[in-house]
Amino acid sequence: MTSREQLAWAIVAIPTIVAVLVVLTPRRAVTAVAVTGAFVTAGLALALGVLELRALGDPVVGNWIVVDAAGALLVSVVAVVGLATVLVSPAYLAGADSSLGPAHRQQHTYFTALYAFWAALLAVPLVGNLGGAWLLIEATTATSALLVGFSGKARSLEAAWKYLILTSLGLGVALLGIVALVAGIPGGGIGALSWRALGTYSSGQQSALVAYILLVAGLAAKIGWAPVHNWLPDAHTEAPPPVSALLSAALLPVVLLVAWRSEHALAPVIGIRAGQDVLIFFGLVSLAVAIPFLWRSLPWKRLLAYSSLEHMGVIALGIGFGTPLALAGVAVHIAAHAVAKAVGFYAATPLLEHEPRAAERSVTGIARTYPALGGVMGLSLGALAGLPPSPLFLSEVLIVAGGFQAGRSWPAAATALLLALGFLGLAHALLETTVGKARRRGGRHRRESRALAMLGGISLALLLALSALALWLPGSDLVGALLAGIT
């Protein structure tokens, strides 16, 4: 077993063990165990990312484990967001007045579900076959639904129920696609579902295309692509803010990776263009559905949720265009969206303390009453809008340019137009949220302001680093490795 394989197993095993440990730990030590486990998990995941960067073009490919450039990118993103989520969770729990389980076990319930969810999220990019990926995605549904409904309040129960039922039905359709694929792959069994074996499908192009469409349409319900996105705004809005960050910044792109791997693996059978067309369709529809909502005055977390719909559409388009420029954009977009969106959701905890009505209506003039919070929210929204020099601006330019490079002028032009409209909507929200007319007076938030300034500083540094990366990435070996995939 290579060091990368050992690390891959450890990255999944450690959070699973911590999930069990948390149950057995006395209440006063739960946070310490959770935070320690988060640093260990994230450290191992980032080490895997570095090792993969040093071995680009030489992926580890087996029936159960795959370590390649795209997987390492996603594992690193999930690790960083997971670590930050664990670190900000005690602040959320300190103010939580109700929960799904018994009050004295609130922390145990929360961190056990969070770690189980995180373990499944880290496993999906590393799993070596489509069947295993499906099982893990289904496992994320069960664990994350518990987190979405964690507060036990009526609205969160409604959101969790919608999420559970809609994504489970979607995954049922995806499983039908998988069964149809297995039927056409010689040999059968688990080996037939390994990423490389998918390309050996031999029952004809038409039936492979049907299976692929069933698979992607089913996964779309989980990714939150329109028109099967109905659960997304509700779940992101009603989940605890740290969990919303993990849902948006980690879960959605992780499931999207499975759609990407499937498209790549099945391209020799269904044709490169047909597979990409499906992704471009979902990308454009998601963008078109999201934009009108970005123009409306929405509560903070709901606005971020619709922004997730927009950004998952952009990533789908980048993968659908499939050129080196577009894939460079996709890599930057996944990482930058994760940073900007996670920061936005983390800011919701102090926002809801500062202005409880923010749960149900849009907020204005936060920078006037709570400058540190306004600064962090402005940073998040500015980056998500694609305000230069946001890395998301650069990644969107790369993706649109990639679309023209691929000869897909109409979808690329439509993407550019929709992104411009989305930018205007979010820019308006940015101005209103930060420097608009304040609805209440400011208060003293000295201690929280220091924490927010640190969060904002780290996020700004990460975003600027990603902007620099976006300039260097096109033409690099990393993009070559993303293009090659695991074939």
Partner: protein, 203 residues
């Protein structure tokens, strides 16, 4: 699988779409799963097939126990009527099943009749979840879809993967357990398992 058995599976699925009582619907999806277990054991070629059939049986019995427990703990004061009358539900389910059969030319299973039955069960499950207001029926819709997928696994030309089949059964039980937790909390919060109460979140 014989045409008669396939018809029985599809008829049970359609009955779940139209039936009013939750406990009867639970009995029907359980009976459907047990028919699948019977066929899986009859058709088993090796120990792996027997284990897969065993996992399906455990899943069927465990879900039945869970759902009946939920029914007994969440008795409705008034019947929860579906959004759509039974006859319209049946017509919609059959139309959706026929549309799916027409849209999906082939799945590559052992027989075309088996494929049609699989697609019909998937369609019936989706229609059940979409048209019923009682929250437990939403979960039963998912179980109907999964029963259809279990039938598809039995109809695979080269056989399925034992690991995946056991994994799917475990995942479904996990989902049903979480759904059970939420079903009870929804009942406690709203005083009913009527999903019409779950409509506050919209734009």
């Amino acid at each position: 699988m014989s045409g008669g058995l396939l018809w029985i599976l599809v008829a049970i699925g359609l009955a779940v779409v139209v039936i009013r009582r939750r406990s009867v619907a639970v009995a029907l999806v359980t009976a459907q799963a047990l028919v699948l277990v019977g066929f899986a054991l009859y058709d088993a070629k090796d120990a792996g097939d027997v284990v897969a059939a065993g996992a399906l049986a455990v899943r069927a019995v465990a879900l039945a126990a869970l759902f009946l427990l939920l029914v007994s703990r969440t008795r409705e004061l008034r019947p929860v009527h579906a959004r759509v009358p039974p006859l319209v539900r049946a017509v919609a389910a059959i139309a959706f099943a026929l549309a799916l059969t027409w849209l999906v030319p082939t799945l590559g299973l052992d027989s075309r009749n088996g494929e049609r039955a699989v697609l019909a069960l998937v369609a019936f499950g989706i229609v059940t979840a979409a048209t019923r207001r009682a929250t437990l029926f939403h979960v039963l819709g998912i179980v109907l879809v999964e029963n259809g997928l279990a039938l598809a696994a039995l109809e695979l030309p080269g056989g399925g993967s034992l690991t995946i089949e056991v994994g799917v059964a475990v995942d479904l039980m996990l989902i049903a357990l979480v759904a059970g937790v939420f079903h009870e909390r929804i009942f406690a919060e709203f005083g009913t398992g009527d999903s019409a109460a779950l409509r506050t979140l919209r734009d």
